[in-house]
């Protein structure tokens, strides 16, 4: 395929143009995070300024940011780990010892993901209140584990499916026990897949905003709900909002970029690879 120089330039301009437009709000937020409050709300916008870190220190000191950040870390890490522990055996069983019902079970698991959160808001809310899970890290961790379980099982299942059967058979013929085979062969082979499954589960729970807003008030509030508290109209703290947002979005953005290829598989339940 021959392309003229003009075509090449057009392709590059189009590609970069689209990307910069999409990323613009994030870039603009990043700039605002380093402005003073006055510069952040000034119109016409200030493009050249001496960057300041005072928003970050303000967010850390006054807004008790580390508390909310740790909530997010604990809840996401905990729920991801739990979901992984519960899913690994199930995915293994379904991928390597399939029965007639395996397909139905998989599809049924997927269908539990289709339940709209808002449809069960009332019972969950009342249950959380009556058993004292409201505004606890344990409550939200359990919630996110359940929400992510179907996706984690599915993703692990598709990764296990991709392992060439000959390798596993050879190991069994060599006298390896199923558990040995699982630890020594399967886990190392599928480690990249397992890692991206974990990343996806972490991303999803990090950004989950429905349950975090409704099931936490202050003690267990993760970042999504904390940022929501900036929506109150009194006082426009744009620079501080941007600084807090940048800190909340930054780590997960890196995770997202690391796992972008496997993301498609996870989010479409293996329908697109």
């Amino acid at each position: 395929m021959e392309q003229s120089t003009a075509q090449k330039i057009a392709t590059a301009v189009f590609g970069w143009g689209v990307s910069l437009v999409m990323a613009f709000p994030i870039l603009w937020m990043t700039l605002a995070a380093f402005k003073t409050e006055n510069q952040a709300i000034s119109s016409p916008p200030v493009l050249f300024f001496r960057p300041t870190l005072e928003n970050f220190s303000a967010v850390f000191e006054r807004a008790n940011y580390p508390h909310f950040f740790m909530n997010s870390v604990v809840i996401c890490g905990g729920s991801t780990l739990l979901a992984l522990l519960i899913s690994l055996p199930a995915a293994y069983a379904m991928a390597f010892y399939p029965t007639k019902r395996t397909k139905d079970i998989l599809v049924w698991m997927l269908s539990t993901k289709m339940m709209p959160a808002v449809g069960v808001l009332v019972p969950i809310y009342l249950m959380f209140q009556s058993v004292g899970l409201m505004d606890t890290r344990i409550g939200l961790t359990a919630m996110y584990t359940l929400i992510n379980l179907p996706i984690v099982v599915w993703m692990l299942f598709t990764f296990f499916k991709d392992v060439p059967r000959e390798i596993l058979e050879a190991a069994l013929l060599d006298g390896a026990r199923p558990l040995q085979q699982f630890w020594m062969l399967l886990l190392p082979l599928t480690l990249p897949g397992i890692a991206s499954t974990c990343l996806l589960a972490t991303i999803l729970s990090w950004n989950e905003a429905f349950w975090s807003i409704n099931l936490s008030t202050s003690q267990a509030t993760p970042l999504t709900a904390f940022i929501a508290s900036f929506s109150s109209p009194e006082g426009l703290f744009w620079a501080k909002l941007s600084a807090a947002s940048l800190l909340a979005v930054g780590p997960i953005l890196v995770f997202g970029w690391m796992t972008q290829r496997q993301l498609v598989r996870g989010l479409t339940f293996g329908a697109v690879k």
Binding site: A12, A23, P25, M114, A209, K273
Partner: protein, 301 residues
């Protein structure tokens, strides 16, 4: 494939212990089963009860009163209408812009990897952050960047969330979901048969003709998947509305999820909110039915 599987099973039963898979499956199956049944049953139960949290002692059987009230209440119809407008609008936007972005990022150009990362970045931004950044930094009627841009070309500033509330929410949600469509369509584009494209080129197909006759049909399947998966998520858009408009002005951005939230946690009407929840579940299940069928079909290949 199935022969291969049969062989594996045979090998295992001959050489090693045939493991019992039930204990391996049990934790996830039991957990998901409880997670599916218990809240659903409770929602159904509450939806036929007269139950207000402000007066929890006087609950009673209400029959279909909650439903009759809900279905004859113009608020629900309005909320349903808003939900559908939002979902359909965002779907259309994400498909159109998703295809455009995917096409733009499929062709090779210097720095394409970084450009791709930038383009999909919005998907990883938490909904409350994106909503507040758009609402304040960009769409604020006085200090926002958009109003400055409009003013600098001599147009009057737009008060986005007062004058076009649903569209404004839609823009934010679409911005979050375009990367999702882009990512999936981009993956799908990479499996496009290059020889077929070359052949079509030889036959003189160019630009638009090539796109509509070769590329678009190839993308059709992934587009269906994007539409179905996004619908599931878009039907429960909540945080973006809460932090930008809180359902207002009036009821202009009150969608079904937001209405249920309001009924339950602001009006404490458990019965009414549960009836709304049942409506939401029915709606989502209509879409889910088709989605699950597509994916199950895929599993067989």
């Amino acid at each position: 494939m199935s022969q291969n599987q049969a062989k594996t099973v045979a090998v295992i039963s001959d050489e090693g212990p045939l493991i019992n898979t039930k204990p391996l499956m049990a934790p996830s199956v039991i957990l998901l089963f409880i997670w599916m049944i218990v809240p659903l049953a409770m929602t159904l139960w509450f939806s036929v009860r007269r139950y207000n949290l402000l007066d929890p002692s006087s609950t009673s059987f209400a029959g279909f009163d909650n439903y009759t009230f809900l279905l004859t209440d113009p608020t629900l119809l309005h909320a349903l209408q808003n939900t559908i407008v939002l979902v359909v609008g965002v779907l259309a936007a994400t498909i159109i812009f998703g295809v455009a972005c995917a096409m733009a990022l499929d062709a090779p150009f210097p720095g394409r990897g970084i450009a791709r990362l930038l383009c999909i970045a919005p998907f990883f931004v938490m909904p409350t952050v994106s909503a507040l950044i758009w609402k304040n930094l960009l769409m604020h009627p006085v200090n926002g960047l958009f109003s400055w841009m409009l003013k600098s070309v001599g147009l009057p500033a737009i008060d986005w969330f007062s004058d076009y509330p649903l569209i404004s929410v839609g823009i934010i949600v679409a911005w979050q979901w375009i990367p999702f469509a882009t990512l999936i369509l981009l993956t799908s584009l990479q499996s496009l048969d290059r020889e077929q494209v070359e052949a079509a080129r030889m036959d003189g197909a160019r630009g638009w003709t090539l796109f509509t006759n070769i590329t678009l049909p190839h993308l059709y399947r992934s587009m269906t998947i994007v539409v179905m998966i996004e619908t599931i998520f878009l039907l429960s858009v909540f945080a973006e509305i809460l932090v930008t408009t809180s359902g207002g002005p009036g009821e202009a951005t009150t969608t079904l999820p937001f209405l249920i939230y309001k009924t339950a946690l602001l009006d404490y009407d458990v019965g009414g909110a549960s009836a709304g929840g049942v409506v939401a579940i029915v709606l989502a299940n209509i879409v889910a039915f088709f989605l699950v069928r597509t994916i199950a079909h895929n599993l067989e290949r």
